[in-house]
Point group: D2
Chain length 357, copies 4
């Protein structure tokens, strides 16, 4: 029998015990979650839930000790389960996460945090009231490459960030109920928030549903920031070949981040300067191209670090890097993108409040 909790977060169990987790959703991503959680010393998967009996059978074949159920409430009713990890389609994120929070569980939910900012805010409020951890799965925030670039930006090594241009395109997979903006967009939008620590003021977007009418499968998104930085995000499920290419252009250095390459980060010591500040008006410019460096990167799997952060947080460590607040901002930007697509014009990300975090 457990001791009574002395405070909200993580108090109901031994601080050193592995976090007992139930996983719901065993489609593409769920089994990855289970595998990483099983490998983590700080976590233990107790039960898995999916509506497809087949999916349950497959996972049970690999992890015979797991309890399996098609009823999500079984997870909620189990008092030994402290946390729930949700890897279901986006439209079910809100009801499942809300139910779990209400049942006193900590919640990890795959991106996007919810399918509307209203729902995301409601989840955040629920988590605060119940003093539970609520963490969206913005996995790229745990990628060694993304973090190395964040360090370069935050340290000032790149100078002023002039602009960022990113392409995330490949052939498929179309989602029947979500646009490419809701499906792939959270990756780039969360990375931009993490790098720039600034919400875009304005967004402008164009898209087309080439294969399924009304479900955009290609989108071009422009983002303007108060600091002057601009960004562009190209997203598509229709492409001759896979691209994961981001160029970060700073006043001091430039970086290319390519997640498909053996050298995901390349730092270019290149730039442009007025030849003589005094004669700036005459636009005598000097172009500088120097060494190019591909720094060695850690090989840690981002999802492993992500789940480690989740467990540490609910055992009392600081807030998760991929925070519910950041998850909400991602959803707010996507809603602004949708408004821009619908109206054919630039829109403010937030109606009128300050965009600074």
């Amino acid at each position: 029998m457990r001791a009574a909790p002395s405070n909200g977060r993580g108090a109901e169990s031994d601080i050193d015990a592995p976090v007992r987790i139930g996983v719901v959703g065993l489609g593409y991503w769920g089994p990855n979650l289970v595998r990483n959680l099983q490998e983590l010393p700080c976590a233990e998967v107790i039960a898995v839930c999916d509506q497809q009996a087949d999916a349950l059978r497959r996972i049970a074949g690999r992890y015979p000790a797991l309890q399996t159920t098609t009823d999500f409430d079984d997870l909620l009713r189990d008092p030994t389960i402290e946390a729930v990890a949700i890897a279901t389609p986006a439209s079910s994120h809100f009801p499942l996460a809300a139910a779990a929070l209400k049942a006193g569980k900590h919640v990890f939910v795959e991106k996007p945090l919810a399918d509307s900012s209203k729902a995301a805010r409601e989840l955040i409020q629920l988590a605060e009231e119940r003093e539970r951890v609520l963490m969206p799965g913005h996995t790229f925030l745990y990628s060694p490459a993304v973090n190395l670039i964040r360090d370069l930006i935050q340290s000032g090594d790149l100078g002023e960030i002039y602009f960022i241009s990113t392409s995330r395109v490949n052939l498929g997979l179309h989602q029947p109920d979500a646009s490419v903006v809701w499906d792939l967009g959270p990756h780039d939008l969360s990375i931009l928030l993490y790098w720039l620590e600034e919400l875009p003021q304005q967004v402008s977007a164009m898209s087309r549903g080439c294969i399924i009418p009304d479900v955009p499968d290609v989108a071009f998104i422009s983002l303007m920031y108060e600091s002057g930085t601009i960004a562009h995000v190209e997203l598509s499920w229709l492409a001759p070949s896979k691209l994961r290419r981001t160029a970060i252009v700073g006043s001091e250095k430039m970086v290319v981040y390519d997640d498909t390459s053996n050298e995901p980060v390349r730092i270019f010591d290149s730039g442009v300067m007025p030849r003589d500040p005094e004669t700036f008006g005459e636009y005598q410019l000097t172009y500088r191209t120097g060494d190019i460096i591909s720094p060695r990167l850690d090989v840690a799997e981002p999802i492993y670090r992500e789940m480690e952060d989740f467990c540490a947080s609910l055992r009392g460590a600081s807030a998760t890097r991929s925070s519910a607040q950041l998850g909400l901002q991602v959803v707010e930007i996507i809603e602004a993108i949708d408004r821009s697509i619908a109206s054919g014009r630039s829109v403010d990300t937030l109606p009128r409040a300050s965009s600074r975090r």
Copy 2:
């Protein structure tokens, strides 16, 4: 003594004689023009004009037979010069071309045709009145790769063109008096007009002057066409490495055009189809990836073919492929882009008339 002209175009000289040409502007591009014209059997450079005595000396060292002058009127006054080729900064295109047309010369002018649509229209009218050839230098219309892709589009091999995404970025060279849109934009906009044979209805653009305030050196441009096709053009003078990459995504095949590659055109036999048209509503899609082909391309230098087209046209052949009308449309689109940048919203390319050519 020449015979009286029996008709307007090219009649003032022997139909088989090389076209006698004066070239004005010996900066970056002018010497290329001179070299190609010298190699063309159908042309003969008589005189060159530049304000820099140095530039004249350099070209005279290489082609001692050329007359050199710092006075453009010398070219216009020479009755043996039939045509003038203008390779000066954009702001001087209109006054030089107008003067040459008024002097009865045929005119080739580097892109853009003029620095405003009003000026471009005035030049077109002048050329029609005087029955002279007026040709803007949209050189890519003579590139073997661009023409091979045009054939693939026009023949229907690619199917419906869903979208085109293009990046033309490199480090430098900033122009003191023209944005990257006016400098690099004419290349992609002329190619899109040549491929799609359709003027975009709407444009939406975002830009930034990173180095020189008020002179955009990076721009992201979205184009919407009545046919449903969408296009995106990324232009920049600030980039870690040179990119010349265009993806053309059709319903039947996809193409990547990369002008920096040994294999500039790659055709991907890839696509997406509803698995069963009857159950389309269920979005069962099939992804098809087939062979990739890099077709062999002619190695002809585009500028050589371009000048050949110019000479043939003023000797009585059909209109030039790079037509003054297309040159005007390029300028109209750029003006719309500038309006979109200034207003922060999508704008119609042409105020209200039909956009179909």
Copy 3:
């Protein structure tokens, strides 16, 4: 109780029943074997054997139904086990395979078949006497890319094969008891035998043990064939980056096979011809470069097809594609390479017998 066998091969069990297999060696490759065998309808892994208790525990965690043992004889003593798959270090291939054949088991053994041609021949004789299948694991013979190229060669599409040049280099992993020739060489040598269907007449090789004296970790190997074809194989465990590149130069076409690329096979319609056969003596040559094609390839995992071939063969189908005879030839070539390295000169692959297969 089983019926008496009516013939040697595969007769002791139902022709449709899955082949009951024991796997010995759970290092790097063994677990791959187990996973593929488990997925194959025609096979069933009954027991696994390794000297490391840890390795047994790990595999039992994933496949709880497996019997585990540290004693290889347990596998041989189990009358329900029909076949043994050996994935142990090369020096143990002979004793384990010989014992298994003597116990009446069919044998699959990872490459090389044995660590000497004498031992390989003894295994072949044992298998023939006992009418058991003996199959070496030359996995590349089941690679879609390797087979597509074989078809191009066999059909004559490439014309006469002038030469083949291949590089298989990467950083590590050094084997303490085997040179890079014995470790990586079997891949290229088996592919060359499969493509050319010809044993090289002569080999000439140079090597160096850079890290561990007397254990070559880089080798350059030249092979000469009676047909006139020549081949070169570069092998190394010391390399700045991984290369898996093979160029096949034929009189009609050329092929590049790169196993690390998204497009592993590229067919170049290139060649050289005397301009006029009559004036051949004057060496007027024409160089032809045409289209380049990257054919789509099946995505089947080679090891899966390899084990399928093994099972089919011992159930009565024809001999395995990766045959014991080919495995012996690979070992004979490696021994010739070792003789060439030791003597510093070219050596005959086979002392004096015909080299034609």
Copy 4:
């Protein structure tokens, strides 16, 4: 009237005056020589010689001030011509260079220095007797990339040089009278001599004349050095695509030199070490992969620097970097390669003398 020479080298003319040069041979390379010499302040091309009147006309069109002749003796008879640059086929290098030296001219001769080591030695003796400069055109010794790598090797940054592997292949151009070894080989062999400062002790080579019997158009060459370093050179005029790739593997770092790349030199901070020197016998190795650096390189044209070195040397500066001695060693190695090809075995580069320079 000139002053009497006070010493042998370059004394017959003003030390500051441009070197007056005659160029013989206007095929592929000769016009490059003329262009670079014309741009050099320290040189002046006086006359050009070729047997083809066409070639003379073309060069005269570009440089009207040049004297042209089909008679080489005209160059030798002109007392104002101090130096002769020879860019004719290899078989004429010796007679032309010998005649020029005998006429008291300084001599620059394209690689190879001569078509036999006997002839090369005779030229060296003539030059010494007449106190004239004799310089072979090993242009790569003036390449910024080659020099950067030499600095890395000489400084010890790469550690011990384990091995060097290089591929120089492309489609064509076959020479009617010279093998690919004589045509392309001098590039890699001169680079290896310049980097390693060591003559290989032994060479072993295999080749084939695929298109023209008895004229090898593909060759695989192994080189062994007294220091322990080994090297391999692949040369071919038959290849699906152009390769210019050299891997230099040192005990501390590794380098890839690719002359076709935008980043010709890439330095890999990678290596292998015994994990613990004490337990070396147990072969516990550690593999280290660190940053990769592409250093910025000067853009100077190697041929320009090469001719500058020639002029400086005959005006009294030190010996040329590309020395006649190095040119002789290149020819000696090629002769050893030919002996190895003919005999089918490894041969000593120099019969029995020391191979150390």
